[in-house]
Symmetry: C2
Subunit: 271 residues, 2 copies
DNA sequence: CGCAAGTTTGACGCTGCTCAATCACTGTGG
DNA sequence: CCACAGTGATTGAGCAGCGTCAAACTTGCG
């Protein structure tokens, strides 16, 4: 798609701080628990880390590729996406961030951002300060390990999407996309009782994710509807035939590592 | 491309051990020095880590996706590549490993392999034991930081290639591929005086890297020759017009981070 | 010398792109 | 309450980039 990067200027600082006693469900804790079993002190530390929160509006930009990273964002509610434009306006979307996802730890290590992160809908994020995060990693090896796992899964997802773009045709690509999204949505409990879930993308975003045009995406989506596999309309997706969907893309979700915590870690040093 | 995964069984153990005094150029040290300035004790530690070496033949498989990782390989000489097959035989190549590249630290963190690593020519690798590596990371923060940087650059390369597959046409894709390869080759001093370098791939490998067919790759390569941009024949590449090559792909090699060591690291903790 | 692997060529066709118009939905202001 | 605008979805016609199939040629190697 061809468009000049449209950017809403990030607003002031309507920050909310939840003091120590904050005790609600925390999507980062739930995520980390998929990789390591956090104890009470660790969950307390994570709550402390994610205490500073902020509500942001659709179309705001969380991270810009020309800026130095100063903190890490945790998505609490809403959906963010990572993308970059080529000079001629073509856009590649690298992936989507849902509640519990961190936005990018990588930038911190490099001390520069190589792509943008935007918001697809009104969202809520936590701002994690780098020194605090570093401190928590040193004090709590389990937290360090969970963060490493999250980073590694991120790049497994990248590889899977590379394979998707390189080897599959449009029908398979879109099938695979929905397989991945539903698996991730299910893991964070965002699927409704009737099997539907909300997906605040436009067909154009999907096109820029998969290297297709909007027109073609639209036609393939009709085919999915016609074949009774899934229906996506008004930001709501409903999967009608999950087995068929997964067989279309030959989907194997192992790369997402959404299952139970690993029994025995590879490295003693990371208890 | 459609083919059943052809695998040469990994052979016995013709291992060479270079005792402490080993003092040649070490590609891992050179690579790490691009990110952090290693001191004498750190270079000593890296030499010690990479002391166990092994020569392997073309087509041997270093890492298989169904195995548990037991150690990390460092490429010393030769070229390795990372890939995965779909059940129907389509193959996606995720990237190439040159001397100084590590083969995959990620596997270790996950405690499982999600893709294969094969050799494109007779090669030489060092076997790094995990406990030793962990120990070195703890003792030498600079080594830890360099390894983190290497991992982060790896995923920056993945993102760049995702954009390549998603947004560029065949001519641009191949152009971008050669831009990246020459930049990396130059950084490790593998470019000959006349500007040529050896690239032990077949056109089919390039096709499976970029999501094209051999036939089409062949035709686009002819175009590159015709336009006097580059010539690739008998595993030798020579770039005839570097500026034109880079403008075809709108190449910006910043994502490879091949320049001087970073001045000030983002995190004090990783001095 | 002869085989195997890799490269090159040609003819043909399909997948997915382009351009352009129309339709549907939502929010806005009069 | 409706006209209107803007955004996104949908449709159609035509085309081209890239894939498929199949054969010939070239190179490396035992």
């Amino acid at each position: 798609m061809f468009l000049e990067p449209p950017h809403a200027a990030p607003s002031g600082d309507p920050v909310t701080i939840f003091p120590g006693g904050y005790n609600q469900a925390n999507p980062l804790i739930e995520r980390m628990n998929k990789f390591v079993a956090l104890g009470a002190s660790e969950t307390g530390a994570v709550r402390q880390l994610t205490r500073i929160r902020r509500s942001l509006r659709m179309n705001e930009t969380l991270v810009r590729e020309d800026r130095k990273p100063d903190r890490i964002y945790l998505i609490l509610k809403g959906v963010a996406f990572r993308y970059r434009y080529l000079i001629d306006g073509r856009r590649q979307i690298f992936g989507y961030l849902f509640p519990g996802d961190l936005c990018d730890t990588q930038f911190v290590i490099l001390n520069e951002c190589d792509h943008n992160v935007g918001l697809l809908c009104d969202s809520e994020v936590a701002l994690i300060s780098l020194p605090d995060l570093m401190g928590a990693m040193v004090t709590f090896p389990k937290i360090e390990r969970a963060l490493l796992m999250m980073a590694v899964v991120d790049s497994a997802i990248l590889r899977e999407n590379l394979l998707n773009l390189g080897q599959r045709d449009a029908f398979e690509k879109i099938g695979h996309f929905f397989c991945e999204i539903t698996a991730r949505m299910r893991a964070i409990g965002q699927i409704n009782a009737d099997g539907s879930f909300s997906l605040p993308l436009t067909q154009m975003e999907l096109a820029d994710t998969l290297g297709l045009t909007v027109v073609h995406v639209n036609r393939i989506l009709q085919r999915f509807r016609l074949e009774g596999v899934l229906c996506w309309s008004r930001r709501q997706v409903i999967i009608l035939n999950q087995p068929k969907l997964e067989s279309i893309a030959a989907f194997n979700g192992a790369y997402l590592h959404l299952d139970a915590p690993r029994e025995e870690p590879a490295l003693q040093a990371w208890g």
